[in-house]
């Protein structure tokens, strides 16, 4: 299978080929473009989310699960969001993404109270820019724009109480 994987700004072109099992453990040959000859990776065991891989006799014990359109890999004490693109699935994926409302919306993650709205409808914002300050869970939190664009709708005012999952802003 040919895939593209994007992690922390690094892009990898990966080709995996399944080989006949060794000791009943699935065996893959994995080529990462620009990283030399293919590596042999055995899937020693897995539970639903815990994958124990053997890469050249080195144990790589990872947790892997999907969330919010990304594949999360918990490896050696850090959690990495990996975006996998399967070139064959591209058009299907983007169709699903646009139906879901895409990443251009900011929702409240938990119940809280809007302390201060930092931008207005029609404003241009950059990805990562603070949009609103919400007080929740004993703290004041500045919620940030998930993408760059223009604020299409602003659905909150100062002093308003919000619930987890409430749509706060739409950006396009």
């Amino acid at each position: 299978m040919k895939l593209q994987a994007s992690v922390n700004g690094a892009l990898y072109s990966i080709e995996t080929q399944q080989r006949p099992n060794v000791d009943e453990a699935p065996l893959f040959e994995v080529s990462i473009s620009g990283q030399g000859p293919p590596r042999r990776v055995r899937v020693l065991s897995r539970t639903r989310h815990r994958w124990t891989l053997l890469i050249d006799n080195r144990v790589e014990d990872c947790l892997i699960y999907d969330d919010a359109g990304k594949t999360w890999v918990d490896w050696r004490g850090q959690v990495y969001p990996v975006e996998i693109t399967d070139p064959r699935q591209d058009s299907l994926h983007s169709a699903l993404a646009s139906r879901r409302g895409g990443s251009g919306s900011l929702k409240a993650q938990m119940p809280g109270k809007v302390v201060k709205v930092l931008i207005g409808q029609g404003d241009t914002v950059e990805s990562g820019q603070g949009l609103v300050i919400v007080e929740a869970m004993k703290m004041q939190n500045e919620l940030k724009a998930p993408t760059s664009g223009i604020v299409k709708t602003c659905r909150v005012v100062e002093g308003q109480n919000v619930n987890g999952g409430d749509l706060l802003f739409e950006i396009e």
Partner: protein
């Protein structure tokens, strides 16, 4: 009856079981599948998810207590634990409140009133004001004690309503903001001002008292590692405290407890100013309840604090005297939270898809969750308290780091990578703690991104395997799948 939820409710259930007492749980709609409910003998629903409609509603809790016939009630920490009215209501309903008297709760619950009581009792307090009515009063007071100062809400807690001010120019706006925040959060806009210590350390003393007038202290805990005034790592004993200093701190804490006729478990929190020319310590506040970080004291002293609370409430005398209290070894606690370190540590509730808990030598994990549990959005996102202990501090630190590497949680983000960075820091390992530790060492700065290809490779293998039957106990793969006739 256990008037709480999460890990502390599980803790109290365990203390009950160890004493052959039948534990009764209450649960909100969001906690129907909580661990503390599974471990109880009986369970009573107390309303919808929001705490204000369930765990904070005294009437509903007491109603459940009456229905169950519970003789005593443990309030845990937070929620109604330091609510004087609730303690009185328990008394009126003939349910023994496992905690101190309502009067002690009231007196120590007001930062302003407790400061006054401490001054009268001869307990050193941080130079500070009583309640301040207007900005001008605050301004002239701060001129006297000098900057930097800390503005605090009298009814406050958990770091809310606290504001440090370094310059006179910032005082009045900070004062107004603190007042309005205090009104919003605690329905009480009373604020006061304290001198800000330069490099303080947060050291607290555990107190136990019975209803027969005996009181002892169980040594100190250091809780200097805090983020936004919330404790993250606590330890017992403190690297700063020797036998002599412990004795002085302990005697002062007992003085404070005596001043309010304290019984049950309580904690006297102090700030220690560790300067070149000696150590000064000041009363910060007294928490009239069991603290979150009580396990580190339990491990080092061998005393089961929750059990003691229950026995004390039952009218029994303390099971030990001051001279019987010994501290052996070292314990460190890390609070594991469902938080997103890449998004300002915002709570990251959600479903725990799989969970692998650490154990082995010197490890204790006080948890309220399990594999498959959905961490609710409505409450503090504490997953568990991970405690590591050993014969000395360095063994405790090593075991904690080992335990953190074994502790795996799939499905929610946690602060564990942050805890690992903290525990690995040389200043932490050498015990150079202070309340500004996290900021001072820039630990909140994002980790430099690791460019190793293993995460990408692992994700690719997982994706390539999706058409396969997963775990080994399922049916052997058929020839169809092996020959590549696969579709997503």
């Amino acid at each position: 009856m256990i008037a709480n939820r999460g890990e502390i409710a599980v803790r109290i259930v365990r203390a009950c079981r160890d004493l052959d007492i039948s534990p009764v749980a209450v649960y909100s709609e969001a906690d129907r599948d909580a661990l503390h409910v599974k471990l109880a003998d009986e369970a009573y629903p107390i309303g919808p998810a929001p705490a204000a409609e369930s765990y904070l509603v005294a009437d509903k809790i007491l109603d459940a207590a009456r229905k169950s016939g519970a003789e005593a009630l443990h309030p845990g920490y937070g929620f109604l634990a330091e609510n004087e009215g609730f303690a009185r209501a328990c008394r009126a309903s003939d349910v023994t409140f496992i905690g101190p008297s309502p009067e002690a709760i009231r007196l120590m619950g007001s930062k302003v009133a407790s400061r006054t009581a401490m001054v009268e009792a001869g307990v050193p307090v941080i130079p500070g004001s009583s309640s301040l009515e207007d900005p001008e009063e605050a301004l002239s007071f701060c001129r006297e004690i000098g900057y930097p100062v800390m503005i605090k809400a009298s009814a406050g807690g958990g770091g809310i309503g606290m504001r440090a001010v370094h310059d006179e120019a910032d005082l009045i706006p900070a004062f107004e903001q603190a007042r309005s925040q205090a009104r919003d959060f605690f329905n009480d806009g009373t604020v006061f001002v304290e001198k800000c210590l330069q490099r303080p350390r947060h050291i607290e003393i555990q107190i136990l008292g019975d209803r027969h007038g005996h009181r002892i202290h169980l040594g100190e805990r250091e809780c200097s590692i805090q983020r936004r005034h919330q404790k993250v790592v606590e330890e017992c004993p403190s690297p700063l405290v020797d036998e002599d200093f412990r004795r002085r701190l302990g005697e002062t804490a007992l003085k404070a407890a005596r001043a309010v006729d304290y019984f049950s478990a309580g904690t006297v929190e102090m700030l220690v100013d560790a300067r070149e020319d000696g150590r000064e310590f000041y009363f910060l506040e007294m928490n009239t309840r069991l603290q979150v970080e009580h396990p580190v004291t339990e491990i080092v002293t061998g005393v089961d604090l929750v059990q003691e609370q229950i026995r004390i409430a039952n009218g029994e005398p303390l099971s030990m005297r001051q001279e019987d209290v010994a501290m052996t070894g070292w314990a460190i606690e890390c609070r594991v939270y469902a938080e997103d370190p890449d998004n300002s540590f915002l709570p990251s509730p959600g479903q725990i898809l799989e969970l692998f808990e650490p154990s082995g030598p010197g490890i204790r994990n006080d948890s309220g969750v399990y594999s498959g549990f959905r961490v609710p959005v409505h409450y503090d996102p504490l997953i568990s308290k991970l405690i590591a202990f050993g014969r000395d501090r360095s063994q405790a630190v090593r075991r904690m780091r080992r335990a953190l590497s074994e502790y795996r949680i799939a499905g929610v983000r946690t602060n564990m990578p942050f805890l690992e960075t903290l525990l690995a820091h040389p200043a932490f390992q050498s015990g150079e703690l202070s309340t500004d530790f996290i900021d001072r060492h820039g630990l909140l700065q994002a980790e430099s991104s690791n460019s190793d290809s293993v995460p990408a490779l692992a994700a690719a293998i997982e994706r390539s395997s999706r058409h396969q039957a997963p775990p080994r106990h399922e049916a052997k793969e058929s020839g169809w799948k092996l020959s590549g006739r696969v579709r997503r």
